[in-house]
Subunit: 174 residues, 2 copies
Amino acid sequence: MPTSLSKIKEDFTQGLSQISRFWGFPKGMGAIFAVLYLSPTPLSLDEIVRETGLTKGAISTEIRALARMGLVHRSTKLGDRKDYYEAETDFYAAIRSILKERQNSEFDRAIRSVKETLAALDENWVENEEWQFVYARVQALQDFFDAIDSLGKAVIRLESLGVVNVQKILSVLK
Amino acid sequence: MPTSLSKIKEDFTQGLSQISRFWGFPKGMGAIFAVLYLSPTPLSLDEIVRETGLTKGAISTEIRALARMGLVHRSTKLGDRKDYYEAETDFYAAIRSILKERQNSEFDRAIRSVKETLAALDENWVENEEWQFVYARVQALQDFFDAIDSLGKAVIRLESLGVVNVQKILSVLK
DNA sequence: TACTGCGTTTAGTAGTTACTAAACGCTCAT
DNA sequence: ATGAGCGTTTAGTAACTACTAAACGCAGTA
């Protein structure tokens, strides 16, 4: 017995909702993106209301967040007062946009605080065991963050290279 | 005017708390890890109470989560009924452990649901435009997840390769 | 046996979050 | 002007989360 296409779409939307929630975003955000992503044409706010069951207000605020992240784009038709929204399909571009958006966020300030700890330790150099121990540990954490950061920057360049290059990276790491 | 080492430690702990919260974990979890990470010796539960200001109960539950993730290790001394905890310093090992722990989590089930959508589409093949469109989009998302997954697996091998190799990767991508 | 010192579990709570419902303001058409 | 049709903002709420305080269980010891 075949499953209907609309049922499949619902399941897909459900999946993206959970993924969204896992990453700390509202699940509605994932649902909105899913609906747009599976639509061949840009959708109006009311159409999204119909597809997701959310209210206009919620969608309005969440779609603004999605747009800031570069995951959806807003467009208009001439002689039509509605806004229309469509999903970004280049995920690497979206990631780059998200990371840029995040630039001055809580996250980066937190990461930076580790670097500041290191600086504070430098300025208050004392020649004792505890100091040396703390310094080494904080330094090690900083190195780790730097490594992750470098890799992150590498990832967001994948778009211009094509996914095939992932294999190249893996072969380097072998 | 020099800052005291204990003040520096506090700031560091504060920073890790925020990082922890950003990743969707309780901020207390970050604080506990920070305290352990900056301690040259394993600490007892009561010592962690003293350093963090949290209650035993909270620390008890959160340290269990940290242990599951491989971020802290529990040990005991002979003839001492206390447990002692210390931080994992090999972050790549910790990441590997976290990903393993996550294996059957909500996240993986969600990711898997995309693959299931693809399978459902395969089983209900119909030769029309909408079907083809949806199939192509879901396939593209799946490809993206696969690429990220490959990179993730690459990252957790960095430990055995040394951070230098990050430069190698970057040069490949250049 | 009772006591002491552990870690754990549980009940309750303050704060946060993801929403809804509805008022609002803006822009265009009449 | 007035009204209709948009998106946005706001006030309120139900559900959830990260904690606290305190009871609990379970050793080893006197």
